[in-house]
Every structure is written in structure tokens, then in C-alpha cells.
């Protein structure tokens, strides 16, 4: 077989057989896999290098769990909370998957911090890696954006008020602040348009940007090559390399397994809570963001009024700018942390400051008896809500809505006539409509009282064809009936 002339063109490259060979000949899969797996790692595989792969893994897990959560979720202020409660309390594995997704966001932030810290301490941003670092900074911001936008979606008390605070902070930015705030909220106040915007950002815009920047980040990483250990030259590595596959792949896979097991244990034994539905009127509620925003939350407390420009814009802006421009500022090729006291010192200082702010926030919440009691009450309310059975949302056409009309005595009389004349048999109670006849809710917007009276006395041919018979009533009863129809909303 191998001597036949047809086989000759392929004879140069190792040829695979079977199903894999069939695909390889058509896709070049083998070459792609080799390109991906044979990436050289100077100095060999290490546990310290797992965080990048782990972030990719958790991102994919977030995408998959997020996609299935949308099977039941509805992004509207009316329904969001009910549908999340439905997912949590009714749908099989719903609480588990939602918890994996919610805890996954925390896991992603933790891994992101570890990835950045490893890159920083190892000086892996050095040696023609400026764009790699910058694309990573964009991904950092995008992940924080995902966390911020996802937090609102359950539309519970915590989500609503924390987002109200978060968007208020954006409003503090001088000149364009109010404009940014209105743009984020889809209006001056928080409402259903806010939810639509956050939803679109969370499931379409930011994920699309993350996909694009992950591709760019990986491309730039492969272009620059793995930086290797701290005593390695970042541009022209000298230490004997080891390929990514198999050892680093196995280490990464074991770490991924550990992450998913931790998330699964949390999801199983400490399900992520859903609090009672957002109630903007509750002024006692103390909104608190997710843990990773707490230090910034605390920081902003120190910059009231005219100083807010400095605290909210200038200082964080300078820190972010310095952080992003790190590979441009730190041009030395020295990578060992103990030889870079200024850079490492600054990094450690910022981290300690963030921890400190978090600790201060915790102490001020738990040190004040009033705050502490309120926070405990909020926690209790959430636990209580979790234990209540799922309560379906009452549809607009339901009895409770229909009965609202009875406050008006004429409408109440009309309602009796509506039932006595069997109108409800076809048009449903409260004009909700049935398969036999259309709904009458909102009909007053399309026809005047006189037009309705005329139609009831002499139905149109279309109505007659549908089974509507002419109605003969004393004028007073007809008025009552038409009044009642006006109440159907």
C-alpha cells in the first residue's frame, strides 16, 4: 500500500491512520495539536504556571453554566427574581448550577489575582511582553465587569441596592458622571431598563470581548514564549525546555479538577443564596457588594463631596495607569523579586492596603451594633426566603388583578353582568381571554364606551363568526358592563 504512487505526496510527514487520520488529512488537526501541546517551557513544568490555564478553564465553565441558566432566566424587573427563585428552588440541579456559576465568579477573581501576582513576582511581563501585559489588563477589567453586571441579575434586595450604589459611584465622576450613570441605568433611576442593559453586557458584550482578548492574549503569549523561572532570560531562554504536554497539561488538569471539586462542594453544601425580591422602598437595608469590591467600597467612604474627584477618579486612575504601564516603566531584565524592591514593595503595599480596607469595612460593619444587627437581619431574611417553597408569579389575568375593578360600584355591577351573561365563558374571567375568544383587557384603549356599546348590540361579522351573539340589555346594565370593560387592564 505504501508503495502506491497515490500515497507518495504524504510520505514526508508522519501519517495517522483510522478516524484521527481521516480528520487530520482534512483539517490538519495533528499539526494544530502539536503546535498547542509542544509549546516549550524553559526550565520545565511547574505548579506556579497553572493560573492562566485555570482562568481559561473557569471561564469556559462560566460560559457553559451561564448559557444553560438562560434557559429559565428572564431579564425583566417583573420576572427576574421569580425566574431565579424557580431555578434555585424548582429546577433539578438548578441551585447547584447557579451556585457553581455564582461561586465561579469569585473563583475567577481569586485566580485572576493569583495569575497577576505570579506574573508580577516572576517578572514575566518583562522582555517584549508589553502587549501581552496590556491585553491581560483589559481582561482584568472585563472580568471585573462581568462580576459587576452579573451581580444585579437575580434582582434580589442585595443585588438591587449594591448596583444602585455601584452606579451612584459612577455618577460621582466629574462632568460626565451623571451621563455615565444614566447610560448604565438606562435612565435616571434603577429599573427594568437597567436590568436589560446589565444583562446584555453580561451575556453578550463582555463575553464577546473576553473571547477576543483571550485569543489575543494567548497569541501574544505564544509569540513571546513562556518566560520560565525567575532566573531565566525572558527574551532568549537558556534553560533546557520541556514541552507543555504532558507534564504541565497534567498539572493544569489536576488543578482544574481541584477547582471544580471545591466549587461543587460549596454548591452542594453551601448553596448560593437568593434573598427576597428587591424592594427599593426599604431604606434600612445596608447594601454590600461582593467581597472583592469591599476594599474599593470602603475606600470611597473617605472621599466625600469636593474631594470625591481625587478619591474616585484621580487616585484609582493613577494606580490603574501605573499598573497597566508597568512593562514600559520597569525596563530592566532583572526578574528576581528580591532584586526589585520598589516594584515588589509597591505591589505588596497595594495588596496590604486593599486587605486593610477590607478589614476596616468588616470592623465598621460588625463593630456598630446597629449595623451588625441589620446585617444579621438581612442574612436571616435571605435564609428564610431560601427555605420558603417556590411561589409562582401570579399572571396579570388572574383573579386578584380582576378583583381590583370591584372598588368602583358601577364596575362591580358590570362584573356581575359580565358573568351572568356568560361573557367570561369565552372571554375569560377579568377579560383574560380563553382559547375560545380574545382577551378584553385594554380594550378601552381601542374603543370608546359608545363604540363598545354599539359593538355589543350589533357585533361585527368577524365577532359573529367567532360565536359572539348580540347583547340586549337595559341601558343602565349596558353602561355598567361597558364601565366594567373599561377597568380591564
Amino acid at each position: 500500500m505504501s508503495d502506491s504512487p497515490i500515497d507518495r505526496p504524504d510520505a514526508q510527514t508522519p501519517k495517522r491512520t483510522g478516524l484521527f487520520g481521516w480528520f487530520d488529512q482534512r483539517t490538519g488537526l495533528d499539526g494544530l495539536l502539536r503546535e498547542a501541546l509542544d509549546e516549550p517551557i524553559p526550565g520545565g513544568a511547574r505548579f506556579a504556571y497553572v493560573f492562566g490555564s485555570a482562568l481559561l478553564f473557569i471561564f469556559i465553565s462560566q460560559v457553559i453554566t451561564g448559557v444553560v441558566l438562560t434557559l429559565y432566566y428572564v431579564p425583566s424587573a417583573d420576572h427576574a427574581h421569580t425566574t431565579v427563585a424557580y431555578i434555585t428552588k424548582e429546577v433539578t440541579s438548578g441551585s447547584f448550577l447557579r451556585s457553581i456559576h455564582a461561586y465561579g465568579s469569585s473563583a475567577m477573581v481569586i485566580l485572576l489575582l493569583l495569575h497577576v501576582t505570579q506574573t508580577f513576582l516572576y517578572g514575566s511581563y518583562k522582555g517584549r511582553r508589553e502587549l501581552l501585559w496590556l491585553s491581560g489588563c483589559v481582561l482584568f477589567a472585563l472580568v471585573l465587569g462581568m462580576a459587576f453586571t452579573g451581580y444585579l441579575l437575580p434582582w434580589d434586595q442585595k443585588a438591587y441596592l449594591a448596583t444602585a450604589v455601584g452606579t451612584n459611584i459612577a455618577g460621582e465622576v466629574p462632568f460626565i458622571g451623571p451621563w455615565i450613570k444614566s447610560l448604565m441605568r438606562g435612565g435616571v433611576d434603577m429599573g427594568t431598563l437597567t436590568l436589560s442593559r446589565f444583562y446584555v453586557a453580561h451575556v453578550l458584550l463582555i463575553p464577546a470581548a473576553i473571547f477576543a482578548f483571550v485569543a489575543l492574549h494567548i497569541y501574544l503569549f505564544r509569540k513571546a514564549g513562556a518566560a520560565g523561572p525567575i532566573n531565566e532570560d525572558p527574551v532568549t531562554p537558556t534553560q533546557p525546555p520541556e514541552t507543555f504536554y504532558p507534564r504541565q497539561v497534567v498539572i493544569d488538569a489536576l488543578f482544574a479538577l481541584a477547582i471544580i471539586i471545591v466549587l461543587a462542594l460549596l454548591a452542594q453544601f453551601l448553596p448560593f443564596e437568593l434573598g427576597p425580591k428587591a424592594n427599593p422602598a426599604d431604606t434600612r437595608y445596608l447594601p454590600r457588594p461582593e467581597w472583592y469590591y469591599i476594599p474599593i467600597f470602603q475606600w470611597l467612604k473617605y472621599w466625600p463631596g469636593s474631594l470625591s474627584f481625587l478619591g474616585v477618579v484621580v487616585i484609582p486612575g493613577v494606580v490603574a495607569f501605573l499598573f497597566a504601564s508597568l512593562p514600559f516603566l520597569d525596563r530592566r531584565m532583572e526578574r528576581r523579586p528580591w532584586k526589585r524592591p520598589v516594584a515588589v514593595g509597591t505591589y505588596v503595599f497595594i495588596f496590604l492596603a486593599l486587605f486593610g480596607l477590607g478589614a476596616v469595612s468588616y470592623r465598621s460593619d460588625h463593630g456598630d451594633p446597629g449595623y451588625a444587627a441589620q446585617l444579621i437581619a438581612q442574612q436571616k431574611a435571605a435564609e428564610e426566603f431560601m427555605h420558603q417553597p417556590f411561589e409562582p408569579e401570579l399572571s396579570q389575568a388572574s383573579l386578584a388583578t380582576a378583583n381590583a375593578a370591584l372598588a368602583d360600584p358601577v364596575a362591580a355591577k358590570g362584573e356581575k353582568i359580565y358573568r351572568a351573561q356568560s361573557c367570561n365563558a369565552c372571554h375569560g374571567d377579568g377579560g383574560s381571554g380563553t382559547p375560545a375568544a380574545p382577551k378584553l383587557t385594554g380594550i378601552h384603549a381601542r374603543f370608546s364606551a359608545d363604540q363598545l356599546t354599539a359593538l355589543l348590540k350589533n357585533p361585527s361579522p368577524k365577532m359573529t363568526a367567532g360565536g359572539m351573539s348580540p347583547l340586549e340589555l337595559p341601558a343602565e346594565e349596558m353602561t355598567a358592563l361597558v364601565t366594567y370593560l373599561g377597568f380591564l387592564k
Binding site: T17, S93, V250, I260
Partner: protein, 181 residues
Amino acid sequence: MSHHEIDTPASNGEPSRRSYIGWLMGLCSTGVGAVLAFPLVRFALYPLTAKTTETKWSDVGPASDFGSVTTPVQRSVTMEQLDGWRKTVSEKIVYVTKDGSGQLRVLSAICPHLGCSVQWTGSKHEFVCPCHGASFATDGTRTGGPAPRGMDSLESAVQADRLVVRYRYFRQLVPDKEVIG
């Protein structure tokens, strides 16, 4: 065939290390796959295992109230329809009566002709539809008028000494009872 040896792991000289790595990779993929795939499938297939749309049993009253009925009794029942995470509550009129063998039977008040509410007319000892005059016997069988079939009986049961009924809508103007909606 001449390249066959490239595909054979044994020829790479490290069969035990290779199989160890293969085992670890298998463990990780199976572990991650099982933790995620199983709940994902259960979540997506939830509508196959649970009733996501349902008309609940409506309470008509204590069963003892109807033991001695001789003429049909009108009752208003609260109908609760579940549709995923929402429900619709409405009030419906039914008649509790007895069939030929003396068993309780619950009839929908909706006329199978054009859907008006059928009334029990004690003086004539029959059901009469006020719209087009269809008439029905005590047990709901058609006795006259334009209706294509008798009054529609509803699925009913006695649960914990209460008479309950599952309210349904039926297609009008057809000779055979057919559930809609």
C-alpha cells in the same frame, strides 16, 4: 502501513509513564465532566421529568355535601393553571350532579355549542343555555337545541373527603369532547 510504528505507544519506550499520564488525564476529564455534565443535563432536561405546565385540582367542597344531591348544584371553583414559573388563577362555574349509576359527576358550565354559561332551570328540570336554547338532562346528556354533544364532564375525585375537579376547556361545535388550551 509502513508508518504503523509511530502510532504505537509501546514503541516510544516509556509505556508505564505514558499510561500513568493517560490515567491522570482520564481521571481529570472524567472528574470535571461528571461534576459539570450530570447537573447540566438534568437542568436542561427538567421539563422531561417534572410537570412544568399543569392545571391543579380545584376544590369543589366537602364530598358529604353532594352525597344526597338530586338536582344539579352550581359551584364556583378556583382554577389554578401553572405555566413554568407563573400561574393564572381564575374562577369557573361547574355543576355537581349524578350520572345514571348514582356516581358524582362534575360538569363544566360552558355550553359545547358556542360557549355561553349553561343555566340549571329547576322549573323544566333540565339545563338550558341562555344563548341559543340548547338543553341537557340532569346528567348533562344532550336533549335538544343546537349543541353538538352533551355537557362536558370534568375529571373529578374525592381526596381527603373533599370533592376536587381538574378544570379544562373543550373545543366547541364538535361532536366529540376534545380538550384545548
